[in-house]
Amino acid sequence: MTIAVVDYGVGNLFSIYNVLERIEAGPELITEPEDLVGAEGVVVPGVGSFGRCMRRLSRLEGALSEALEEGTPMLGICVGMQVLFERSEESPEEGLGWITGEVVRLPNSVLVPQMGWNTLSIKKEVEILEGIGEEDFFYFVHSYHCVPVDRSVLAATTDYGLEVAAAVSRDNLFAVQFHPEKSGQKGLRILENFVRLTKC
């Protein structure tokens, strides 16, 4: 097995699967905790509400946590990034809490959701952002955003009238608020970067 895409019954995994197949990452949709054993990389997608994602993800929490501790590269996407935090204003359910901080609603001063293409402000050099510049656009669609306590996890932010966490990284854990699988060639580049990490 190469890249495990966690299929925990939320939303639409076709796009991410399709792109990983296209870049020859050998994706496999997995639903059971034991399927994570031996995965070279793990992608945690997520759409819909935080609470719903957490309720469905909880049975895989132990297996995901083990994979992470073993050093398997892991990539959270959209709500798959938000669930890495401790909690969200959206739902009472607790998050995975792997990153200290919370997820809060975008303020009323801006249109919610943020829907569309935005650029990044790069905060640190990380492997998954290799080849990505501040002039490149990525497709965002979200109503809540992550606020890490330790800002050193921030790999990139985006400007939506306020600073929004766009990418975080810590060791082998990566996550992006935008959708790389829907962000044209530059999005594919990010996924290729991630896949390359899993082969190291």
């Binding site: 796009s15 399709n18 759409v47 249109l111 829907m115 569309g116 293409w117 497709y139 962000s183």
Partner: protein, 270 residues
Amino acid sequence: MLARRIIPCLDCDLGVPQGRVVKGIEFKQIRYAGVPWELASRYYEEGADEIVFLDITASHERRETMFNVIRTTAKNVFVPLAVGGGIKSVDDVRGVFKAGADKVTVNTTALKRPEIITEIAEEYGSQACVVAIDAKRRDSPGEDRISVPTPKGESWFECSFYGGREFTGIDAIAWAMKAEELGAGEILLTSMDRDGTYDGFDLPLTDGVCKRVRIPVIASGGCGNAEHIFEVFQKTGASAALAASIFHYNEWGVDEVKRYLAERGIHVRI
């Protein structure tokens, strides 16, 4: 800063095996434009920010053809794909998502059964639920209508359904506000008076909706050139502009439109 989006729209007739893209004028006088996935790939290469497919046949037996169109497109096109026409239930939504769509647009069904908006939003998130409104300008708004100043005097806008074939009596601007409340993530607002005319977007209608909702609005209907898109972005709060004919018949490339806008200070993805 978030870029304004340019969205080519493909009206699909699925009565032939691969489907075909057609375009009408004021919802009539249909003209053939090309094969759906080929046009979609071209627009993607040119820098389209999103692609919308509308099934104008919308009959049950043609659903398989639409799935094929989406599946083929999604293999090469890595921007969001929205699909509409004939969506009647969350099961239908599941079908188009499984084929590779990222958003659905609902129109007739939502007017007849508004709860479907909430059902889609709960299952797939608000961002996946676009409410499409086909609006027709009407004179002399009464007390119960949302009145908008237009060059033709104070007007209100009426929602149509069944692809413009029937009218509902429902106030389009009030319906947009209601749709937001029910969980819609975006409004695709088409002016029936302008659709296919090349006369430019209906600015009073677009402005009237943008000022009353806090979700993104896609302006649609009437785009005849890049200047029209510039105008709708400059004069209204529209987040995106949708166009069909100017792209289908090679009058403008998506890239040309974007360069035109960028030169005039509109923030777009290039």
